[in-house]
């Protein structure tokens, strides 16, 4: 019977043929946990009387939510994370200043590959779908995986999204990702894997594919996958020595729902509080005064995002009433941004560069919002209270829209600035 990629990946990990709806106990290839949850899973293992993790070589820990400890608690937590990583013999421990954001650098470092099953604590482990790896978030049940090496997983249905056409000037893949979750309904994607394919994919790099795979979970999707194509294979071969065997969906497999997006029709999107899927065309929000801007996160902190923002900011100044933060997602991205002169553009414009990782998006632990303030940023969520004050508003947009708005001091259409430059 023809199968969807998610069924093939879970079937491989479960050692048998599976179909959507089955309950399986798969053997994961990688398990990821971030700095804030490490002490919780260690405490859970202690309470269960378990003294070791199922396989230390398949566990990855990243210190990304608070890489520069900004409180005494943060420093104590980092110390504890180091002790726990050592106690369990976890070699893939990326301490502060090493890898960066755990949903991004493992892809750059070749730890993520097609057909792989990754079980993670954090919701945005779905980014790994950019190279055909199925990332499933478990939250607290990650402790069961750490103790036993598995947990029950329901094999999801697959929703197929075909992309065609090319992005217009001043529009980025983030706009597509936001528009898509505003078009799809929660009922359509509930418990499903959202799979991207189609001819439009050829124009979207691996970083942009991470952005596509990042947002469907906000709507209740279990995960997201991008069809592995030549572009992905080339990216992977530069990073991975092991044989690469893509597990793409069979052409005649069954999808629970299909949708198509014409990239050329997408215009800049701004999601209004309090949900990321409340996306509007930027034109509806132009002129809304802002105080705070941020470029970064696992959705949009990649090199191309920094390029987009820098191109928009070049030779301009951040508005006097706006403070702006830029956080490269990984150490590698920070180094590349330095080589390309992007960091210089940000600094000269009056923006602040922060340590690689989640940046402001990790609950506003750095650069939070005060009462009555308005932020426009490229983070993942815009719930009230997400970045400090519950009486602050968060708008989500592409790096170009955020940068253009930071210059104007109000929500702006980046296409106007882009046209200025030509």
């Amino acid at each position: 019977m023809p199968k969807a990629a998610a069924e093939k990946i879970l079937g491989r990990a479960a050692g048998k043929s599976v179909a959507a709806g089955d309950i399986v106990w798969p053997d994961p290839d990688l398990v990821t946990v971030h700095d804030y949850y490490v002490k919780n899973f260690a405490a859970a293992l202690d309470s269960l009387g378990v003294s070791r993790v199922f396989d230390p070589d398949r566990v990855l820990i990243s210190t990304d939510h608070e890489p520069v400890a900004v409180t005494q608690d943060g420093a104590n937590r980092q110390k504890l994370v180091r002790e726990i990583a050592e106690r369990y013999g976890i070699n893939r421990f990326y301490d502060a200043g090493r890898g960066g954001l755990g949903h991004v650098f493992p892809i750059e470092d070749g730890l993520v590959w097609p057909g792989q099953l990754v079980l993670g604590y954090d919701t945005h482990v779905t980014n790994f779908g950019a190279v055909g790896s199925l990332g499933i978030a478990l939250v607290v049940e990650i402790s069961e995986v750490m103790a036993t090496g598995t947990v029950w997983v329901k094999v999801p249905e697959t929703v197929r999204v075909d992309l065609r056409g090319q992005l217009s000037r001043g529009v980025s893949i983030r706009d597509v990702a936001q528009k898509l979750i505003s078009i799809l309904s929660a009922d359509q994607v509930d418990y499903a894997v959202v799979e991207f394919g189609g001819p439009g994919l050829a124009g979207i790099g691996i970083e942009g594919r991470m952005t596509l795979c990042n947002t469907p979970c906000e709507l209740g999707a279990k995960s997201a996958l991008v069809e592995v194509d030549d572009l992905a294979l080339e990216y992977l071969r530069a990073r991975i020595e092991r044989p690469i065997e893509p597990l793409n969906s069979d052409p005649d497999c069954r999808y629970s729902f299909r949708s198509e997006v014409d990239l050329s029709e997408i215009v800049p999107q701004v999601a209004v509080p309090p949900m990321p899927d409340l996306a509007h065309d930027v034109g509806e929000l132009i002129g809304k005064r802002i105080h705070h801007a941020f470029i970064g996160s696992c959705a949009s902190g990649m090199l191309q995002d920094l390029r987009d923002a820098a191109t928009t900011l070049k030779g301009k100044k951040v508005h006097p009433s706006v403070r702006m933060y830029v956080t490269p997602a990984s150490q590698r991205i920070a180094a590349a941004a330095a080589r390309e002169g992007l960091l210089e553009i940000f600094v000269e414009a009056g923006a602040m560069i922060t340590a690689p990782g989640c940046g402001v998006c990790a609950g506003g632990r750095i650069g939070p919002l005060a009462d009555g303030e308005v932020s426009i940023n490229t983070g993942t969520r815009n719930d009230f209270g997400r970045l400090g004050s519950e009486h602050a508003e968060i708008y989500l947009a592409s790096p170009m829209t955020v940068a253009a708005s930071a210059v104007a001091g109000a929500i702006s259409d980046p296409r106007e600035l882009v046209e200025d430059m030509t």
Partner: protein, 174 residues
Amino acid sequence: MNWVYEGRCWKFADNLGIDSDIMPLRFALARETRPEVLREHVMEAIEPEFHRKVAPGDIIVAGKRFGQGNPHIYGFIGIHALGLGLVVESIPRGSYRNAINAGLPFLPRCPDVLAEVSEGDQLRVNFTTGEFSNVTRGSTRTYDPLDASLLEIIAAGGWEPTLRRKLNPTTEAM
């Protein structure tokens, strides 16, 4: 374990929030896991004193996206502690897992079930077969039950007892 629940229907709408309608957020923030505490606050935002009105065996019948929001388990611990069963049109994956983890028998996908019931109807639900009878109306429908492997977790009392048994079969058996 008894898988057949017989009792009164408590009917609720779509989109009940896990941290608002089903259980006040403060219990999640406090990491309160005691069933005897949580049971007294189930649905209180919608139906004050709900815990005094229900009897074990009663059934909550709700619409789409039951327990939407951050995947917190506390509301499901409370429902389980009241001895109630749960029948919903749909349930997001975080809450689906948490209902199982709390040991709560439920039917996760019952399209249009709200049209099958009125508040106060007498219901009989078999959670292993998915047979759903409205005794008051004299109607019966069959929905997909949970997978047998998940029913085992529920029968064992939820996530933690199941995991402890799995990790240490001998001591847990003693």
